[in-house]
Amino acid sequence: MTSHIVSAFSEELETLSADILRMGGVAETMINDACRALVAGNAILAEETALRDDEVDEMEADVERRIMRLLALRQPMASDLRAVVSALKVSSELERIGDLSKNIAKRVAPLDGTDVRGVLMSMERMGRGVSHQLHLVLDSYSDADAQLALKVWSGDEEIDQHYNSLFREVLTYMMQDPRMIGAGAHLMFIAKNLERIGDHCTNIAEIVHFQVTGTYLTSSARPKAPLLEG
């Protein structure tokens, strides 16, 4: 697309999307590090990961401030309007992903000394899947690729299935040994956090799809795995 007559406007939009990608990169690293810390029982890495959440929060606040300014000064229209609103919404999704990753990291310490190795392997696989979803959706944002966004959007079903099977697995552990209930509860929350991160990725996919095509994807049309009862 050609540049704006006011070149500063084009620059502001480019910087904005670069910053969203940078923010997404930090969020992705947080998911990966939180899962690595979990599997390795690495308390130091967990603590460092939790601390990075502040970084994401600050980036979101900065993006929001600049978007307010941009809306007031430039009054963007059409594709520009969609780009600016998308950036605002994606940044808040990424901020939530940061929060959830931090929460995972904070559960590493309480799990120290418990023997949940089997579950951790499954958890790591789910974490990889979720982080891959985020990676793809960030690619779709950076390349304005609506098809890729659509693929991520449909791919959340797999994450949900993963969550359901982990839920069942942890539940079994807890039923077999009541001493596992404390650790099991933490593992349940971790799995739920990963599942929520997956949902935020599909939200981002919807935003990207709207930004690129101008049409809305309806959540109700998305393929979903049925929720397990207790």
Binding site: M1, T2, S3, H4, I5, V6, F9, Q75, P76, M77, A78, S79, D80, L81, R82, L150, W153, S154, T213, G214, T215, Y216, L217, T218, A221, R222
Partner: protein, 267 residues
């Protein structure tokens, strides 16, 4: 493929019956063609805005609706302008009578060098719309009220219209336009000479007037078009590029030229 829903569904209720049906309009100034085969159905009781870069033909096209191009020497308008089933672009139609049905407000407020009262009473008087002084008083008051000016001028109706502020003068011109009970009001950049407050008042007024009139507005302010109109037409180089629901045109235009223009990429 999943369902996708476009936002046009939300604005579908805006569509109303066609008031002005322009068919295959071509306009020439001497040898130079200014408008190329434009057809457009303008709905009644709503606001339609014309946008586009300077010289794109939007004002020329607007002036076809009340035959203002007749006043320009060597201008020639081909095609049909059908208002309520009648083609008004023929010699059989008296342009003066047509202009009582199709009022116009210009860029620069142009009150007559007469009193505020006489500015509004002028049209009804020459068209014989009021029989008595009381009737005329009522028409004047009614028009000024609908133009949002009555409270500000009711105690000085005898003062010259040219003594009002720019924004008040423009509202006086709108009162003058609606005094003859037109069906259609054309506005050619009605706010470009006004400050933001006066502009906001005019925009508020336009929004109220659309309940009674078919309004067509030419504007250079994209934000104004987005704020006041339900339908937007984008003109470029004498052609109609895109005509659609305002919300759609400003959030998701279908033509790349519209996109480039409204996002400030050429002009």
């Amino acid at each position: 493929m999943p369902d996708t829903s476009s936002h046009s569904a939300t604005t579908a209720s805006i569509a109303t019956a066609t008031k002005v049906d322009c068919r295959n309009i071509n306009v020439f100034y001497g040898d130079k063609q200014a408008i190329f085969d434009i057809s457009m159905a303008i709905p009644g009781r709503s606001v339609t805005s014309f946008i586009g870069p300077s010289g794109c033909g939007k004002s020329t096209f607007l002036r076809c609706i009340n035959r203002m191009n007749d006043t320009i020497e060597n201008a020639r308008v081909e095609g049909q302008v059908i208002i309520e089933g009648e083609n008004v672009n023929t010699d059989a139609v008296d342009p003066v009578l047509l202009r009582s049905r199709v009022g116009m407000v210009f860029q620069k407020p142009n009150p007559f060098p007469k009193s505020i009262y006489d500015n509004v009473a002028y049209g009804p008087r020459i068209h014989g719309l009021a029989r008595t002084r009381e009737d005329m008083d009522a028409v004047v008051q009614n028009s000024l009220t609908r133009a949002g000016l009555w409270e500000e001028v009711k105690d000085r109706l005898g003062e010259p219209g040219t003594g009002l502020s720019g924004g008040q003068q423009q509202r006086l011109c709108i009162a003058r336009a609606i005094a003859v009970s037109p069906e259609i009001i054309l506005m050619d950049e009605p706010c470009s000479a006004l400050d933001p407050i006066a502009t906001a008042k005019i925009e508020e007024l336009i929004d109220e007037l659309r309940e009674r009139f078919c309004i067509v507005i030419v504007t250079h302010s994209m934000q104004q078009a987005a704020r006041v109109s339900q339908r937007t037409a984008f003109f470029h180089l004498g052609k109609l590029v895109e005509f659609g629901d305002t919300e759609q045109v400003f959030t998701n235009p279908t033509d790349d030229r519209t996109q480039d223009y409204i996002t400030g990429r050429f002009g």
